[in-house]
Every structure is written in C-alpha cells, then in structure tokens.
Symmetry: C2
Subunit: 202 residues, 2 copies
DNA sequence: ACATTAATGTTTACACTGCTTACATTAAAT
DNA sequence: ATTTAATGTAAGCAGTGTAAACATTAATGT
C-alpha cells in the first residue's frame, strides 16, 4: 500500500490548522501539534509551509475568504440594506471567529505583501466593501469613497475589538447571558439600528 | 559584597521588559531573554512574575499609564481642543509604540480583570476620555456619553490598526517617506483637521 | 543578640517549540 | 526503465515556559 505519500497533505493540514486555530487560538497552533493532529511526522508540514508565519498567512487568507463570503451574501436591491448586512456579518464574524480574527488582524503576519494569497483575499474583502459603499454613496468620487471606507472599516474593526475587551456580545448575534461592563445598550439591543445610524453619517 | 539579593530586581525587570517589548515586540520578549538582559539567572523573574502573562500584564499596564499621560497632557480651556489633542496623542502613541500597543490591545492578556493593576490603568485611560467627551458634549446624559466614547475609541483604535496595516504614517506625526497603498490623503495631510471633522459627528 | 522564618536568588530538570540537516520513498518526466 | 523532483521520515540543535530542590540573605520575634 502506498500511504507514505499522503496525496493532498497540504489541503488537510490547512483545514486542520484552521480548525485548531479557531478552537485553541493561533498562539496554541504549533507545527508540531498540527503534525500530530494530522497523523504525520513532526517535520512533514515543512514541505508545505516553510515557516510558521507561512502557515499563519494561509490560515489568515482562508479567514478573509470566509469573511468575504459572509459580507457579500446579501443581495438586496437597497445598497443601504446590503451595507448594513455586511456590517452585521463582519461583526458577527469577528465575534464568533475571534481566534481567527486575531490572526487576520493581529501582528502574527505583519506584512501581507509577503504573501500574495493573503494580500489578495484581504484586498478582495476591502474591494467588496468599496463596491457597496460606492453603491450607497451619492458622491462617487473615488478618493472620497475610499476615505469613507477607511472610516467604516476602522470603526467596525475597532468596535469588534472593544466589544470583545468589554466582553459584550450583541443579543442579536448570540444567545448568552451577558453582563456589560459599560452601558452600551444601544449597540447591544439592536445592532442593525445602530449600524443604520452609523452609516447615515458617511 | 552582597550581590546575591539584588534589591529592586522587580523594578529593573519591568523597565527592562518594557524596553525589550518596544524594541523587539512582545512575541520576542521571553522570561529567559529578560533574565539574560538583566544579568540574573534564568528563573529569577519567576519570583516576581508567576507566569509570562503576568509579565505581559504589567508591561501592558505601564503602557496604559503612558498612554493616559500623553492623552491628558493638554490643558486648553477649549474641550474641543483637548479632545483633538487626546485623539492625536492616542494615534501617535499607537504608531510610535506599536509593539507595546499590540500588547495592550491584542490577545496576549485576554482578560484584564485578572490583573487589577492593568484593569485600573486601562480604566483610568477610558475615564479620562469620558471626562473630555463629557466636557465637549452638549448632552450630558451618561449613557449617551458612554455611547459616544465607544464610538470614538472604536474608530480611533480601528484607525491605528488600519494605518499600520496600510503602512501609512500621518505626516504630522513622523518625518519619513511614505508610500500610501490607498489614497487616504485627508488623514495623511492634516490629522488634526481630520479629527476635528470626526468629532463633529458625535 | 540570636534563632527562626520569609523573601529572593540559583541550579537542575522536563516537556515543548521552530527549524535544519541528512536520509527514505514514491510519483512524474524523460 | 531510469532519472529526477516531490514529498515523506528521523535525528538533533537551540530556545522556551515552568516546576522543584537548594542557597543566601533580609526581616522578624523573642
């Protein structure tokens, strides 16, 4: 039997790594533990990921692909509805896949340009946002559009970070008893309404 | 001579750790390397920091203390000027002390409540922001103030993250040739003006 | 003053990590 | 069919977090 050569080890390693990352956090994801959980030798992964950062980059890229998918699933005619949906899905992704989110936006992979796959999927996500903002915005001037994109992304991204630090989860997204440290009920009670108010200012 | 007992090892370890963290990033800061750079035995730090996360927490707390100091140094009569200054100082801190900033806002210390020092200094920073927002805002209702605080902090925090990911540094803060990936010239050319426009919406 | 104790430092040791080098096996190409 | 490139394994280095046993000194109670 030929089980020496696995066949598609890389694919399996990657999906296993994604699972492990989301389950235990990327800091716990080691090449050795990945090899173990995939039932191959300790050094087998090195044929497919030259360094640990390589592995991180590929997992992060997969994360962006899923984030993109979630953000672009709504197909309303109303650009406003699409934008709100994208925002909600973004926040939902960030809170539910928080470990992967950390990998994507933290410093584990400091320079995306080193990893074409990652750069492309991250950029794809941004470009989708830009498309939706363009559809929504009256002023179609590119540089003003991009400024708005930065505004939106920054704020939503920061919101995810703060919501997690404050250990608050909007009720709309998850059923669990929450004890907010700070009163951010406007967000907590009705996320969509909050987002609607939010995009009104752009 | 009595050099067996160091005297104030903890203080020195901490300031050394802060330096190392900012110099090399917190991922490179190990208890062993800290011990080495402080010329003590490998395990000496454990008398003062039970775990690595303990060490992280103390360095992060020092970071918040410095951030607080920077944010609260302006003493204008105009609440608006103070708020803009705080925002500028925050962004400046985040970009210039990016390694420490990562430690403070990343996941190295997931739960601040475990570390009273850290929790208090982080909270002090937030409360200062709230004070400035209160002074600036017409509506003094607490919960609306706090909502505004979240808005501001989230956006500024997200902005720092994005500016770094995009490898852009506002000209006002640092002199260095920059090649923005995206056209965010409004931010890049005049940070204070950007911040002024920003707080107008709250 | 002196003995006891607590605090603080060192040594040693274990299990884990990233990664390199040398080697083994097999699929693909000529 | 033979060569070659791809992909697997084994062994090993240097660095890590952390615990346990031991050494030295400062603090404390009598």
């Amino acid at each position: 039997m030929s089980s020496y050569h696995h066949g598609n080890l890389k694919t399996e390693l990657l999906s296993c790594a994604y699972k492990m990352c989301e389950r235990d956090g990327y800091t716990k994801l080691s090449i050795r533990s990945l090899a173990k959980e995939s039932n191959v030798s300790q050094t087998a992964p090195y044929r497919h990921f030259k360094t640990k950062e390589d592995l991180y980059a590929e997992v992060a890229a997969e994360g962006f692909n899923r984030l993109y998918k979630a953000m672009s699933k709504s197909k309303y005619k109303s650009p406003k509805k699409n934008l709100i949906s994208a925002g909600r899905e973004y926040i939902s992704f960030g809170l539910k896949n928080s470990n992967t989110y950390d990998l994507m936006f933290g410093t584990a992979v400091p320079d995306f340009t080193k990893y074409p796959n990652l750069f492309i999927s991250a950029n794809k996500t941004y470009l989708h946002l830009r498309t939706e903002v363009t559809a929504y915005s009256k002023d179609k001037d590119l540089s003003s559009i991009e400024e708005k994109c930065i505004d939106i992304w920054a704020k939503i991204h920061g919101l995810v970070g703060l919501l997690r630090k404050l250990q608050v989860v909007p009720k709309q997204l998850l059923e669990m008893p929450d004890t907010p440290i700070m009163p951010i009920n406007a967000i907590n009670n009705n996320l969509d309404a909050y987002l609607e108010k939010f995009i009104k200012n752009i």
